[in-house]
């Protein structure tokens, strides 16, 4: 199952270790740029929250136990280190430019430059 990047997210964090554990508890600002081919997918967006699905491209995919607690498996956590490093972060939307495919976000927790693979409306 092959995922294609739809864009890139820019954040203050060089690695996921530096990032807050869950973006929503922090207020870090980031910028998400959609690739031109995918900008149409944002048409009509008028929400103040969005779910960013991103790929932790520097994460260790070989681990099944938590580094900080080897008695617990990775599926009991939200750590980016896991077999498929698909991460899900609910962010606030500070501004959106649908024509340019650019979202200014708050509450980011991605490593800078991480590929984005999907955007979704938040759950009601």
């Amino acid at each position: 199952m092959e995922c294609d990047p739809i864009g890139t997210v820019h954040t203050p964090f060089e690695t996921t270790s530096e990032a807050p554990r869950q973006g929503i508890h922090d207020d870090a600002a980031g910028v998400l740029d959609l690739d031109p081919a995918y900008r149409e997918g944002l048409r009509g967006f008028d929400g103040d929250r969005i779910v960013v699905v991103w790929w932790a491209d520097r994460a260790d995919r070989s681990v099944l136990a938590l580094d900080r607690d080897p008695d617990r498996g990775v599926f009991t956590s939200r750590s980016p280190a896991r077999p498929n490093p698909v991460c899900v972060t609910a962010c606030s939307v500070a501004s959106v430019d649908t024509a340019a495919g650019r979202l200014r976000l708050r509450g980011v927790d991605m490593a800078d430059g991480s590929p984005v693979i999907d955007l979704k409306a938040p759950l009601d």
Copy 2:
């Protein structure tokens, strides 16, 4: 970016069109079977909620506009039809057998037989 299936989810829904729009609003029961190689990742799981990340393998990946409203892009929705059909469903856990890698879930909205690519703890 290649995703490997870590297991399969069995639900009452033959297609995602039959499934409730958001599992959490419904109470449908499903069974998630982890592949043997990934069962260790569930060790220590004792929660009553889990986030299932699954792959809508029958979804149309070519669409950028919503079928039901062509003026809105797919990134304004949670429809499974999108460039990377990665879906995220928060489920209740009715029972868990970590040795067998089997979770009995409530609130499923996946099409029967969908590949699972990740499991996560819910956000606090």
